[in-house]
Symmetry: C2
Subunit: 240 residues, 2 copies
């Protein structure tokens, strides 16, 4: 029986990738005197992947990779004023008010008390804490886990530490790579709710068999009705 | 009775501030064509404090504040090559092997099994996890807490969540501000082991009464003998 539901934060509860995309557009525009935007995008992604081992995820890592890319694609001609603009773009992202996705507040409040609710989010500790505080949703979660990577080992550790059997756990998130596949690998359930933009690093190919192993919903507003169906199905199965 | 001991990480178990200090020296040297080193130091600290609200602690925050300070003190004349040097200084810090302080390994292994051991460290999640992995000490800790701020509320939350009564807890660390005062405010015990450098932000004035409320040791090697004394004292008090 389902007892605990885990929610991802960025792009599941609140907007994130759309803000990054706007920042990236400003960055490409800034460097257009030096190089074509599409090439900048490619070089920025390469820098982010190269730096992931040292920097991890998050806005500060993104800022540092933008600065490094600006130096690289301008062949050392980028000006201090342009670097300052990059710092300002990043600070704008960090300081941006939290915007919940449609239906999030209603869904979380409807599930509060019916299930144990966890927030399991990846990224920068300090910034994720600010976002949780800014979301106004912190009080509804029985536990908050901010992790540096979302792989099966991470989920396994969280479930074990909290004494949650995988068969009673369901994860809800926008990333098949981070929120769905590692969770179903443990024998738990998962719900994929795509965001309209996915960061290139989070894109994975899935086959039909994998897609049969989890729910795919168009918006979070579909979650409560779908859980209600599940409850009535499981009670039918469980009745004598 | 003492049952659980919490250890700080940076400058308590492994060297940190000495590496930051070397990086800062390189940074002041880099900007000497523009401004005197002492003034750069002052402006860098001001930038770090101004950015703390958005960036939090850690090396990536330090890198971003160095870049901002370089633009500021050079009045926009700092070159892309100099900014790249700042990025390289920061990457060197992130990539630096973990160096344990003298006596740490012996102390931790001696206490393993006698007390529940926690690691409670402040800073960047990703980098602190790398350091813990690099320290080779992870396996000795019954719990690891990476936090964004060390105040009484943080310690209170950790102790409550783990069911640890304050009177059975002792925190060991190099910062009076972060490891000692918030812990004794909760009625738990604390041990201060100064590191030879303290970051300006962690410096606090203490009066004699406060200093009477915790142990001050010269090195971590004094901890086990001091705990042995405590055990024999408490068992004398406890005997009929």
């Amino acid at each position: 029986m389902l007892r605990t539901i885990g929610f991802d934060g960025d792009d599941t509860l609140w907007h994130n990738e759309s803000l990054f995309a706007l920042s990236q557009e400003r960055f490409y525009e800034l460097l257009r005197p030096y190089i074509d935007g599409a090439l900048t995008a490619e070089r920025l992604f390469a820098a982010e992947m190269r730096n992931l081992r040292l920097f991890g995820y998050g806005v500060k890592s993104f800022m540092l990779s933008m600065i490094e890319t600006a130096i690289e694609v301008s062949e050392g001609r980028v000006t201090a004023a342009e670097i300052q603009t990059i710092l300002d773009i990043g600070k704008g992202l960090l300081d941006h008010p939290v915007e919940l996705l449609d239906g999030v507040r209603e869904t979380i409040t409807a599930l509060d008390g019916r299930y144990e609710l966890l927030l399991i989010t990846k990224g920068d500790l300090f910034h994720q804490e600010s976002r949780i505080a800014g979301s106004g949703l912190g009080e509804f979660f029985d536990g908050i886990e901010i992790v540096s990577e979302k792989d099966p080992a991470t989920y396994e550790r969280i479930l074990r530490r909290r004494g949650i059997p995988p068969e009673s756990f369901m994860m809800v998130g926008n990333s098949v790579k981070s929120d769905v596949l590692p969770v179903i690998a443990l024998g738990a359930r998962a719900v994929h709710i795509p965001y309209h933009i996915t960061w290139q690093h989070e894109v994975v190919a899935t086959d039909e068999a994998q897609r049969a192993g989890y729910w795919e919903l168009a918006t979070i507003a579909e979650l409560v009705p779908k859980l209600n169906e599940l409850v009535s199905e499981e009670s039918v199965v469980g009745s004598p």
